[in-house]
């Protein structure tokens, strides 16, 4: 396992770098978009910058997970499956609550914040189940 330590650190460094890229592109894109630039191509480009800036972090996390042993990969895959199912249930619930007039406007960004929370919860639950 010792020989895997440098690889593990390298993956963590990629995650940190991905996080930095995500943060910078998110701040830049959000700030400029909030000024409502009139040009549609500029707005599309800013959206692309924000989305593409998110991908390195996503890929680095996937690579970090896949670099772990098969059991840890299983735990993460179970957690991701729970997250997808949980997000679907949340979206459906939110949709019906809006149709029923019990829930107002919800910003789309709240979906992935909820997904992140669900992901974390799912990892905790999956780890606890396999303990």
């Amino acid at each position: 396992m010792d020989k895997n330590k440098p690889a593990g650190l390298r993956h963590l460094a990629y995650v940190a770098l991905g996080l930095l890229i995500w943060f910078i592109t998110m701040v830049v894109a959000t700030r400029v978009l909030h000024r409502h630039p009139p040009s549609i191509p500029v707005r599309i480009a800013l959206v692309a910058v924000a989305v593409v800036g998110f991908l390195p972090w996503l890929i680095s996390v996937a690579r970090l997970i896949m670099a772990q042993d098969e059991f840890s990969v299983r735990v993460h895959l179970v957690a991701i499956a729970f997250t997808c199912a949980g997000t679907a249930v949340l979206l459906m619930t939110g949709g019906y609550l809006q149709t029923a007039g019990l829930l107002g406007y919800v910003a789309l960004r709240n979906i992935w914040i909820g997904m992140g929370i669900l992901w974390w919860l799912s990892i905790v639950i999956a780890s606890w189940y396999y303990r």
Binding site: M1, N4, Q68, D69, E70, F71, S72, R74, S127, Y129, Y130, R131
Partner: protein, 66 residues
Amino acid sequence: MKNRLKVLRAEANWSQLELAMRVGVSRQAINAIETGKYDPSLPLAMKIARVFDRRIEEVFELEEGD
């Protein structure tokens, strides 16, 4: 799938962590296999059998319904 991991580990006087390091997985993986919550892949099962110097069927056994 049943396994004799705990018995073999006790005979070898190895902790879960020691076995985990020998086969290159986490201690949690060994614990999950021992408690029957996780069935290892064929390569991992073969690695485990190899560190105990046993044949794979001496360590792992199919149960009815598997």
